[in-house]
Structure formats: C-alpha cells, structure tokens
C-alpha cells in the first residue's frame, strides 16, 4: 500500500476534528472520500499536506511505511504528496510560470535529479497547459490572481500534472465548477491516473465520481471512516443521504 492512516486523532484550536481515522490507499488506487459538512474531510487533506495549526494527538500517517506527520510541507511534496486545494490562494506578484518552475526544480533538486532547462520546461508546460485549456496569458499572470473559479481549479490540476505526485489529494475539486469546467478538470485528472499514482478524491457529491470513477469509496462522519465500499456506494449515498451514518460515528 502507498498510504496508511492509523487511528488518526487531530485537533484544530482545541477542537477535535478527526477521531481515530483509519484508512489505507493502495498504490494506483483512486479512493473517493465522501461525507457531510464538518465530517473532517478537508482536515484530513490539510493534515496530509502539512498545514500548520493541525495538532495530531494520536495515530500516524505513513507513506510507503514512513511517517510523514513530522515532515515540513515541502518535504512531503518532494516525497510525492500533492494537495489540490479547495480554495486555491492568489499569490500576487509571483508569475505562474516562475511558480511552476521553482516548485518543479526544488523537488527535482531535493531528489537529486537534474533541474529542467528553460526550453524543456517551457515545452512541458505548454503541452500540459494545452490539454487543460490553460492559456499562455494565464501562465504569465500572477498565480491565481484574477482567475475565475474554474481557472483556479484547472491551475491546480496543471500543477499536479507538472509535479507528477505519487499521492494526490483532491479537496472538493468540483466545488464551484459548472458542468463544462468539471469535465475539463475530470479529464485532466483521469489523464494522470496511473498504476504508480494514488488519488484521494474528496467530494460531497456523487456527480464528480461520474467523471472520475473511483476504485473505492469511503464515507466519513464525525472524524472517521464509517463505511467503505465500491463505486456503487456513492450512488447509494446520493439516494439516501448521510443521515444514516450520524449515529455510527457517535
């Protein structure tokens, strides 16, 4: 397995959000995580990426058997963890191209790989951006500044395609997208599916999973996984709602 989360307890500002979450994601697997608001889905995403102010009080998260919880966010990224943000932030004054190149070369350098030359890098970005409908003009602009909601999400997938992570966590990548934008993003994600890459797709809605078909679906409630199943579980949730799991987690 690639990712193994064992009995993870997490507090944010003294409030318990994750309560003994256990989850494994196999190599090459696409795992959907569904659940109601406040069930801890985004917290899980942030804890995996290494955001500050998330206090792990118990449990562990292992990537290829190695605990990642004490690693700085950049170290995790270099080891292959990638978070596609629910709300990608705007970074004024930092051109998207500069950002992409700095990130890619920082990761490569840390891994002891050769840095990309400018022409090679330009070609890589052009080819990848083309698939996602990310224009040259967007690449020249500051990261996410003045981007529409859809453009921001496409930019996240572009980063993922450039950085080629081993574990991608997609946090409500469908939120705020209309159906056309959703299709573009989903196609971008599907293109990145590979036996070497695992994905955790976090969503409220079954709709995204019509386009990114998961291998497995986990349901979260009150800070833990309460049910796991195949892709049909998503349809069941869509029909019956989350109310049935409210008691199980208590």
């Amino acid at each position: 397995m690639l990712l193994e989360i064992k009995n993870l307890h997490v507090e944010v500002e003294d409030k318990k959000i994750l309560n003994g979450l256990t989850l494994t994601v196999e190599k090459g697997q696409v795992a959907a995580i569904m659940g109601p608001n406040g069930s801890g889905k985004s917290t899980l995403a942030y804890v995996l990426a290494g955001k500050d102010n998330y206090k792990v009080t118990e449990g562990d998260a292992l990537l290829d058997g190695e605990s990642i919880l004490d690693m700085a966010p950049d170290v995790r990224a270099t080891k292959g963890v990638f978070l596609a943000f629910q709300y990608p932030v705007e970074v004024p004054g930092v051109a998207t191209m500069t950002f992409l190149r700095t990130a890619l070369n920082a990761q490569r350098k840390t891994r002891g790989e050769a840095e990309f030359s400018t022409p090679d890098f330009m070609k890589l970005v052009r080819d990848t951006a083309g698939h996602l409908g990310v224009s040259q003009e967007m690449l020249r602009r500051a990261v996410n500044v003045g981007f529409s909601g859809g453009e921001k999400k496409r930019n996240e997938i572009l980063q993922m395609a450039i950085l080629q992570p081993r574990l991608a966590v997609l946090d409500e990548t469908d939120s705020g997208l209309d159906i056309d934008a959703l299709k573009i993003v989903a196609e971008g994600v599907n293109r990145l599916r590979s036996p070497e890459r695992s994905m955790i797709v976090i969503t409220h809605y079954q709709r995204l999973l019509e386009f990114i078909v998961p291998d497995v679906v986990h349901v979260m409630a009150k800070g833990k996984v309460v049910k796991s199943g195949g892709k049909e579980l998503a349809l069941e949730l869509e029909a019956k709602g989350y109310a049935q799991y409210a008691d199980e987690a208590a």
Partner: protein, 437 residues
Amino acid sequence: MNAEVRAIKTPAEQGLADSFAGARGRLPGKGAVAALREDAFKRFDASGLPHRRVEQWKYTDLRALMRESYPLAALPDAAAKLRAKNAGNVLTGVDCRRLVFVDGAFAPELSDLVPEAGLAIGSMADALAKGDPLVAAHVGKTIATDDAALALNTALMGDGAAIRIAAGVTLKRPVHLVFASGSDKPSSAFIRSLIVVEKGAKATVIESHDSGVAQVNTALELAVGDEAQADYFKITQTRALHVSSLLASIGSRAVFNSFAFTSDAHIVRNQSFIRFAGEDSKGAIRGVNLLRGKEHVDNTLLIEHAAGGCDSREQFKSVLDGQSHNVFQGKIVVQPQAQKTNAKMMTRALLLSDEAEADNKPELEIFADDVICGHGATAGALDPGLKFYLMSRGIHEKEAEALLIQAFIDETIEEIAHEGIRDALKFAALRWLGSRS
C-alpha cells in the same frame, strides 16, 4: 524650549564644534559662502544634534545614536583611491557616466569626464572656492528649512558634485555619482552636491553610497526647471552613520521621479524636502528598504504642493528582519493656492521577525479645498496561507518566503522606467534575499 542656549554639549556635539573651529579657515569658499557656514553653524549649535523631542526626528534620535564625532576625512591618498575603486558596482552593467568621490572628495582620475554637449561637471569644493555663480545662486537657497542636520552639513560642507544640464538637453547616459569611502580609519564627510536641470532638459542621476565605518552627512540640492525631467535614484548600502538630505524644487510642467533603495545599512536617515513650486508637474517619490540585524533606516518626506495642478505619488516599502527598525514619516502639505493637487501616499512594511519594528507616520496638511489627497500605511507579516501554498508544492520555506518578499518589493521596483537600473535593483534585492540564512 529648544531655543534655549544649551550649556552642556554631548561629546559628539563638542567634537563637531571642534571640527568646525579647526576647519573653518580652510573650508572652501570665502565671503558669502563663509557667512552661510557661520550662520548655519550658529543654528546647529543652538539646537544641537536632533533628538527624539524634535518631532521630525522622533524615531531617529541622532543625539543618542551618535556617541562621538569622527575627525573630518583627509584628502584621499593613492591607497584610499585604490580602496574606493570598486564602489558603486551595484550598477555594473548599466551604461552610466561614473563620477567618483572618495571620502567626499571628487576624484577626477577615477571619473568619466568625456565631454558631452550641454553637460557641465565640476567639484563643489572648487565651485565654492571660486565663487561659481551657479553655486552662489542655488546653494542654501533651494528649500527653506531649519533642519539641524542640514545646517550642520551647510556649516561643514566640503566637496561633492556641481552639475548643470543646459536648457533643452537630454543627457545621453545616466550620471552615476559614486560616493565611496577610502579611508581605513573612522572619519566623517560632509558632502554637498548641486544639480541644476534647466528648462526642458532631461537627466537621470544615480547617487550611490557604500562605505565602511564612517559618519556621512550628505545633501543634494536639485533644481528641476520648467518642462524639465529629473529621474533621481539614491542607493545606500553603507555601514556608516549616514544622514542624507534631498532638497528638490520642481518647476512647472516638469517631471520628477525619485527612488531610494537602501539595504545592508547601519543607520540611515534619508530626508527629502520636495517642493512643487510650479504648476501642472508630476512627481513619484518611491523607495524600498531591506533591513536586518540591528539596522535602522528612516525615510522622512516633506512634500510641499505650493502650486496648483500637480500630481504626486509617494510609495515606500520596507522588509524588516532581525531586530531592525524602519521609520517612514511622510508629510504632504498642500498650500492654499495649490488647487487641483492630486497626492497619494502609501507605505507598507513587511515584518519577518517579531523583534523588528516599523514606524509609519503619514500626514496630510491641506489648506486648499479642491484637492484629492490620500494616504495609507500597513505593517504585517507574510501571509501563512500563501507560504503554505508554495511549500505544499515542494518549495523550501526560505525560498517560499523569498518569492513572496520579492513579489512585495518588485511591485515598487517595477515602477522604475529605466530598464537597466530596474534590473540592477531587482538583482540587488535578490542578492539580499539570497543572503538571508
């Protein structure tokens, strides 16, 4: 209260008085110049070094910061000139006319004196000694102020540049005034320069200061004629106790842009007195300060709109690390006759350390009723959300910070029209960022 005769001088004030007493006979200039010096010294002597109870010096208490006064620098010898040779290399790669001053004294043999039509270059000491009419017409007359640090400069002014750009002439290359220290002993220099940009002329002037342990009090009087344009840069990277006064008077339909870049400093006070004396002129007064350790940088502006229809923009940004201290005081005065003034001032400080201190004091004094004026000030840390976003992509913490700091600084540096100078300052900022450990 300050007007009372002070019985007790600090050691530094006593040292300055001794310097003046010892040098007054041999400082350049007789007659009116000597009288100007005597009068200025009397004013300095009455007030002493500016201190925290003097409003404009509240955050830069020179009396406390200046424990002793260093002896006046001797004329530079060959060894001193050799040491000064590489000064001002921040602009390497920009095609400039370099005029080099060592410990304040003009060094013609290190300077580029290739003749250019409409450009007259001289040494201030020579001009004062000879009673040069241009100098007589301007020195001490550009802006009226009772500032004690400037009075001290006037009393002890030694050398500097005296430059005139004739009416209608556009200079082919920027003029780079390179102020270097050559002395290997602590010394003081009182530098006075004059630049007259006559009607319709255009000039770019850069003043750079880099020196070792020294005390430097420098002043530049800049007269920008009607329809003229002056782009003025001051790059200060010096371990000296450095006090600088810019006195600029702007004519009608003229353009004045200034940019002050300060990094790797010790104690720097840049005070700018800028007067929009003629109608319908435009000015942009900007600056970037990069501080760390216990560095202290103070930019104090007094912008006077004395004529109508002028636009001025003031924008200063500072990055503070360590226990450094940045001061920005900006006062815009709009006189009753200066209707249709449009002035906007903004200052922002980025604090990288809990121990750094930024004092921002913007002020408006408006006596006209048909004006647009505004000011703003911010001080804050790097946005942790932005930092996390960059780091989550594999960018190391220091590099993520550097990218965000660079973006903060570049917003102001990008405003520089001259590509070479813009790139040189961007590079200087990058170098500063790169040396953050």
